[in-house]
Symmetry: C2
Subunit: 273 residues, 2 copies
Amino acid sequence: MDRIRRNERMAALTKILTASPNRIFTLSHFCDLFGTAKSTMSEDIDILKDVLTNFELGRLDTVTGAAGGVRFRPTMSKAEARRIITMLCEELMQSSRLLPGGFLYLTDILSTPSFVRSMGVIIAGQFYDHAPDFVLTMETKGIPVALMTADALGVPLVIARHMSNMFEGSAVHINYETASAGHIETMSLSRRAVQPGQKALIVDDFIKGGGTAKGMTDLMREFNAEVVGMAFVVSTATPKPKRVQGEKPLMLMDVTHGDSPMLSVKPADWLFD
Amino acid sequence: MDRIRRNERMAALTKILTASPNRIFTLSHFCDLFGTAKSTMSEDIDILKDVLTNFELGRLDTVTGAAGGVRFRPTMSKAEARRIITMLCEELMQSSRLLPGGFLYLTDILSTPSFVRSMGVIIAGQFYDHAPDFVLTMETKGIPVALMTADALGVPLVIARHMSNMFEGSAVHINYETASAGHIETMSLSRRAVQPGQKALIVDDFIKGGGTAKGMTDLMREFNAEVVGMAFVVSTATPKPKRVQGEKPLMLMDVTHGDSPMLSVKPADWLFD
């Protein structure tokens, strides 16, 4: 390949760094790839750092030390997060989404890549400092958001199931009480999915009473893993308090039951801090 | 903001285009964003096009016509796809992964963002020309790969469930026969998830007899939707043929049952075409 110019390096550098979120690349890696001196590469990195900041496209960090280098973290400003979540709240408040029993149809929102990517970036931004080793979710509807959060954090996703099957190997089962429905269900996770001492970030689509979230924290205790945070797409206004504490929802939902149920969905308070 | 230089534009342009795969951006969009003339923007686009091609980082297409503009498509060369899939096959052939009954533990592979992203890009690359309107999967294990495929294609993901619940609204249920286990199961999908005439790409983690895949095609017929392709992470060597045709697996798995089961996993033949 011919010697490449800074214009070209900037494009390739941007693509490579942003495609592997939260992964540390050494400067040498790029020097080898582009056939460039370290000083030149450092200048490229500085330019990219400023551009990402100025256009609010994420953050480039320089990590010092033996395992040092540069790392891209997807981030979103509070203002942009509020704008997107407010837009989603308005969409969710369409009366056509209200289902019999006061339930809300949000399946489509929860599996549209651009929406779940934004939600994943917003959630990840709250937990980079906690350095979770993996994201934990309970099947099924939270999986896309949880995956995008894990992608932004650069960690694996771990999915708890209602039942273990023969594809999981030996598994840990726990029973948990669904706080709202009040009955006992089973949650299962493969023995090899989590190592003792690891840190878990719980991400799920919905929290009402918090029974499932409580179940996931109990499950992590069985693995001697630590829960460093909990985030949800939607939290119901009632009951309050939940069976878990410190949860971070993106939206708050309130339904007034009755002859014609009234629905309100709004961005969570912390987005306005 | 100060007038920005080409170096800086290249970085921002790359991030914005690659973060929204398969979405068409007008040239004017970027002219407004950067305060640049169309001719300059065109040059930027041409530079980016070449860089992405030279470094095998994806493809930038110029789309002509009234709704024209530029669009980034994640792609992977056959050689790189073979390299990644071969590496995953080797990982899967670790004897520790063989479970009782000749099953294979691949849950971790199927939910590690970087792996499923690569698989999604490889699968999407085979189906851009078919222009699917959505990706369809059956819960649970195929969801991450299916989501990343949908992300690369810039379309929503649709998830069929074993049972409908009150969050789905009215739903279509079909019964299907699991070809391998030979019993009847139910597959369910919300009425509002798919519109008549839409095109579906089926993506799932595993195909053995093809009963579930056949069920998904039957389900799409109920919605008057057309199945334009089927892709799977792993296909078993036997039985052959499957209950569906034209499926595209990434890997082929063969297990010899017996006192000590022998496992072989290799990249699918089409990766060597």
